[in-house]
């Protein structure tokens, strides 16, 4: 499957050639692959360098005079570092634009935890008028970006390094809607990219051991598909959330808020409890955080065997 980063570059070329307002600004990242856009849309590509707060400020300025900015660099630097710029210059000023990150969670595992980012999704969810998309495959980014990018709002897209490998049709992808990949009755597994592949493998493993898992996938978490979650949890009464995000505020929080008022249900949570120090590949760190098919299946068994 094509990487999300390459799809980002191709989508910029596609949209840029139809919409003369689109401007792409990067912080010394993805420069090579965006040369197609730079050539197709002369004067609308800027590599601003390593100064993320200023990139966000400049993008707000572009929108203020009518252009549609897309800013792009590594997740911790464009969200955590430049959060005040996002919050005030887009939020408070009621301006609109697009933020596309790579290197969320521990995608840059080998560079150590200065390059990890677990809180970007939470930070952006706090902002009024924000949308938060976590596309796990090229069609998800291409479809949702085209539906959102020119609308009023602060649109955040977190691109995982590794696509989940599961094919969706463009018609499956509706802003604010989740997708039910498997029907089940014993428990609900709610997940986001890129851990969908592990969650799906776990659901298959559970089926083999007699547990029927309903699998919900959320390409967007803001707006969140509360209806889908409520309908599923109302049926299964058991919820396992698998998210490659900080345990302190992410998908679990959204699911619990969606579930307020439902009669008795039980919950398990697989998420990043704390910073993962020390080196490891993405697969090794995933395994350590419990995101393997066996780790997810183990949590599901635990959830279903507790009273």
């Amino acid at each position: 499957m094509k990487t999300l980063r390459l799809e980002f570059a191709d989508t910029m070329s596609e949209v840029g050639q139809c919409d003369p307002r689109l401007v792409v600004m990067v912080g010394d990242i993805s420069h090579g692959i965006l040369q197609g856009f730079a050539k197709a849309c002369p004067g609308r590509y800027y590599n601003i360098g390593i100064c993320e707060p200023t990139i966000v400020n400049m993008a707000a300025g572009l929108n203020k005079v009518g252009l549609v900015p897309v800013v792009h660099t590594i997740a911790p630097f464009i969200t955590e570092r430049a959060y005040e710029q996002i919050k005030l210059d887009f939020g408070y000023q009621h301006l609109s634009g697009n933020i596309v990150s790579v290197g969320g969670s521990f995608d840059y595992a080998q560079l150590g935890c200065s390059h990890h980012c677990y809180t970007d999704v939470s930070l952006l969810c706090h902002l009024k008028r924000a949308t938060v998309t976590i596309p796990g495959s090229p069609v998800e980014f291409n479809t949702l970006f085209k539906k959102l990018y020119a609308t009023d709002g602060i649109h955040y897209y977190r691109l995982p390094e590794r696509p989940h490998g599961i094919e969706f049709a463009a018609s499956d992808l509706v802003p604010g809607r989740g997708i039910r990949l498997r029907e089940g009755s014993d428990l609900t597994i709610a997940t986001i990219a890129p851990q969908l592949s592990n969650a799906l493998a776990a659901a298959e493993r559970l089926a083999a051991s007699g547990l029927s898992a309903e699998l919900l996938y959320f390409p967007m978490v803001k707006p969140f598909d509360q209806e889908l979650l409520r309908a599923s949890l109302g049926k299964t009464k058991r919820l396992l959330v698998v998210e490659e995000l900080s345990a302190h505020d992410g998908l679990l929080n959204l699911c619990l808020r969606a579930a307020i008022g439902l009669p008795g249900f039980s919950v398990r949570h697989l998420a990043l409890q704390d910073f993962l120090h020390g080196y490891g590949t993405h697969e090794e760190l995933s395994e350590r955080a419990g995101f393997s098919p066996q780790g997810i299946a183990k949590s599901a068994h635990d959830l279903c065997s507790s009273p």
Partner: protein, 279 residues
């Protein structure tokens, strides 16, 4: 103190060890490591009053590598100075190793975790201010990249360093003229850096960042009264390996077996020339 010739040999030895480390780890920042190796060599072998034995002393000199991505070069120099055995470096990029792709304080000899750019200089302003308040006499050094200098936090710190008259603070800028995606002058031009630092109230020295004698002089000379010192080191990214010099892709390029072999040949020839020339 090492002789000039022995110091020059160290630079060549460090280059080879850095390349071997990146090759065996299968990852690392090659170009920027080679551009700052002579600076690290002079710092650790001639300037810094710090050793494995004195690393816990309040009066030690501090070094913070703000351009943290050039960590492999730092690992090699710290191992050579005895902060940890060279064999530790066999674990670089292994699961659960503390030797990750940016400096962390889990590694003996490393003062500060870095990796996100634009943090080293402001932290050093705080450290230099504290050293002055405590009257420990310790000096604080930091190394910045020329791409990194675009982060605005550096310029806020430049103002603060001059405002508080921190003559015990030295910022070295490794001006190798390149960053990930190309020439710094084309991405975000920061020149003339000497005039900028001077305008911010710093004492400024511009040196050839591969001239060990010039670096020694620039880093050991007394500071201008009540001013922090900026050393603008003109360097070559990928210095010392012909096919890596001034080529942006070697920012985080990893040499193949054949490329490592060629680099070895070139560095061996330089070592032989140096030894021959000195006889």
């Amino acid at each position: 103190m090492l002789s000039d010739r022995d110091l020059a040999l160290k630079s060549l030895q460090y280059r080879l060890q850095t390349l071997e480390l990146i090759h065996s780890a299968g990852a690392g920042h090659t170009g920027g490591g080679l551009s700052c190796l002579d600076i690290l060599n002079v710092l650790y072998n001639r300037i810094l009053r710090v050793s494995p034995e004195t690393f816990g002393d309040a009066a030690r000199d501090r070094y913070v590598q703000s351009k943290g991505h050039a960590v492999e070069a730092l690992y090699v120099v710290l191992a050579d100075r005895g902060f940890f055995p060279f064999s530790d470096l066999e674990t670089v990029c292994h699961y659960e190793s503390d030797y990750v792709g940016h400096p962390t304080r889990k590694i003996p000899g490393i003062e500060q975790n870095t990796g996100a750019l634009g943090h080293g200089l402001p932290i050093c302003v705080g450290m230099a201010l504290a050293a002055r308040m405590d009257r420990t006499g310790s000096r604080v050094f930091t190394l910045l990249g020329d791409g990194e200098i675009a982060e605005g936090s550096n310029w806020e710190a430049a103002m603060a360093g001059a405002h508080y008259k921190l003559s015990n603070l030295t910022a070295i800028v490794d001006c190798n003229t390149l960053q990930i995606s190309g020439h710094t002058s084309q991405v975000m031009n920061s020149e003339p850096l000497d005039e900028k630092f001077r305008a911010f109230g710093w004492g400024v020295r511009v040196v050839d960042g591969h001239d060990l004698a010039a670096l020694t002089e620039a880093l050991s000379g007394p500071a201008e009264a009540d001013k922090p010192t900026a050393v603008i080191a003109r360097t070559i990214k990928g210095r010392g390996v012909s096919f890596m010099e001034n080529v942006a892709k070697w920012h985080h390029g990893v040499p193949s077996d054949a490329e490592l072999a060629q680099a070895r040949t070139e560095i061996a020839a330089a070592i032989a020339a140096l030894k021959g020339g000195a006889l």
